[in-house]
Symmetry: C2
Subunit: 374 residues, 2 copies
């Protein structure tokens, strides 16, 4: 007896085959658009154009009775696919032609990520590793920019060692995740242009497009404008920020977050509750939480220790966090539910409209996570 | 002068129009498949079929030179769209015909969510609220199931009050997020079948399909089999679990997680760092973290207090968590980086292969989040 659903399933399969074919055609066209942009020296990612395209797609979906929000997700997935392909294509070059860039620690993951991008844009990339200091003069002498991308614990001493070998117009830059110390070190070690950078993404991104980098031109900004232009042409979002404010926020975004993730993982071990056992019973939101904690432990312990122990200020913030925990825990110890509710409401007032945005945005995440992994 | 990109963009627009049309056709077919399934009493969500479909789609995408992982996400988005439409359609009914269900606290968010589902499957749904106790005998007398879905702080007293009004074959069930206390209360209050449930999702899900519910048939399991069948027919994943193990895991998944989110939000307020200010400088992973903390404060303070203060065991776990924090913080206070690295590595060993899975899965989330919100 034939299954009554078979005919429908065959028609769905035929539609899926057509969908894939259209996606392939669309990607080919997007690749041609990219080549044309690069030839014309146009930026790869133009937020306004993307917004307009999304709005038109939502309208068209709505007219067909499809959910507009869903259609937007769908289009963004398609566009992200063509952006990912850009990582394999050539990259546009900043005005003023090819430069020479020395990446100090360029064999590290982040160094290689940027090395590939500079090379793809037609620049000359050199690297200097621990064993290469004898050649430092040859490597640094005619470099347009020297970018220090070494572990945070050795950044300042590497900068001091580099200083005497730089020529006056070379841009000295760094990728350190803390900015006050390295900025002072660069200004002390080098009399020329100084640009303090912090790429706010991992080395394993498919593409630099849409990623964030903070920049503080600490001396002679005009001399490093080409470098910031190059970042923007790759689609990076360049946010200018002074070192003190950068560090104040990063102490929380990086220091506290990594400490709390460690605390979470460490407590699961302490209570002998294996992540895999919890997973079967996790709501999508706890699943997301567990994955964001777990990802830490697939990475390098030293790297995380460097982030958590990055500065005295950061360690002080963590001590203050413990004191705060002790105060909140008092409410639990005393079974003071009314006090807990008051604290909750005060935080709600502090968060304001952000809480509603957070609910919508995390709701989207939860939905995607449930689609994909459950 | 015509823009050289205009012709390409027009072709991309034409492809997008075709994509939307195909999606509309596909949704219509999927809706017909659903109707056929409901008429035949077949379950709405069959994991094996979905896996087979995904595998075939990945293969087909690969043959066209498209990335298979990306194609899988894409297909899952399409399938989730047709599942969401199912929430507006009729729902299949469990074998044995229409039942009468009394939802005690059925006017609450979760009660309404399940009330809609029972009604859509052709069952008779009644509700009992605070002011309705005078009618309790009429409401409960011929009910096939009575489900208690009231705030955790009053669950046990509501169960005790209901007991004398139930007939011997009525299934007594509850939706409480803690199971030991309510299970004991139900077994004490009612001599008939008892089923302890915990729907592990919010009331605002588009669809029950793929959501998780824990179930413990605490007395006469056969008498409540129809209810568990009904859940499965809606696509819910029913996990059977004894109350003690449920509570041990939930103390962490719910109690600790909500406490830590409160601690995070509370510390941002203490340090006067507004979420909106951090957002501009957040990596996608911190953005996800911030959204999952922020979502809490768009919700009801009492509800969260109930979760955190749910039981003495839960409060003890939170005290143990503080002690553990004090120990870890010692490493920071003493600047003991080596100790920190040792602790990190011990946790890594405890997490084992899960860490790699977590990295992949959270990487997917980060990618989606960057696509959608940046």
């Amino acid at each position: 007896m034939p299954n009554p659903l078979d005919a429908h399933r065959r028609r769905i399969d035929a539609i899926d085959a057509k969908l894939l074919q259209l996606l392939q055609e669309r990607n080919a066209l997007a690749a041609e658009v990219l080549t044309t942009k690069i030839d014309a020296g146009l930026p790869v990612f133009v937020p306004e154009r993307e917004q307009a395209k999304v709005a038109a797609f939502r309208r068209a979906a709505g007219e067909l009775g499809l959910d507009a929000g869903w259609a937007e997700d769908f289009l963004r997935m398609i566009m992200s696919s063509s952006r990912d392909r850009q990582s394999h294509a050539d990259f546009p070059q900043c005005p003023g032609g090819s430069r020479t860039i020395l990446l100090v620690g360029g064999a590290g993951q982040l160094g290689r990520c940027y090395g590939r991008a500079f090379t793809a844009s037609g620049h000359t990339v050199r690297t200097l590793e621990t064993g290469d200091w004898e050649q430092v003069d040859q490597l640094a002498a005619d470099a347009d920019a020297v970018i220090v991308t070494v572990p945070i614990r050795v950044t300042e001493q590497v900068i001091a060692r580099l200083g005497p070998h730089l020529t006056p117009d070379t841009v000295l830059a760094d990728f350190t995740s803390l900015k006050a110390g390295p900025t002072a070190a660069m200004l002390a070690a080098h009399a020329g242009p100084v640009l303090c950078l912090h790429p706010m993404h991992g080395p394993d991104v498919a593409n630099l497009s849409k990623q964030l980098i903070t920049a503080c031109p600490a001396r002679r900004p005009a001399a490093s404008a080409w470098l910031r232009d190059q970042f923007r042409l790759w689609g990076l979002r360049v946010v200018e920020l002074v070192p003190a404010e950068h560090d104040r926020i990063m102490d929380q975004v990086q220091g506290l977050r990594h400490f709390v993730a460690l605390l979470h993982g460490s407590f699961l071990r302490e209570t002998n509750l294996a992540p895999a056992d919890i997973l079967a019973l996790s709501s999508p939101i706890y699943r997301a939480e567990l994955m964001m904690t777990g990802r830490i432990f697939a990475q390098n312990a030293e790297l995380y220790a460097d982030i958590v122990f990055a500065s005295t200020e950061r360690r002080r913030l963590l001590e203050r966090f413990l004191t705060h925990h002790q105060q909140l825990a008092e409410l639990v110890r005393k079974d003071d539910k009314a006090g807990f509710v008051r604290e909750f409401e005060a935080i709600g007032a502090f968060f304001g409209d952000f809480a509603a945005q957070a609910r919508a945005e995390s709701g989207y995440l939860i939905h995607r996570l449930a689609d994909r992994f459950v």
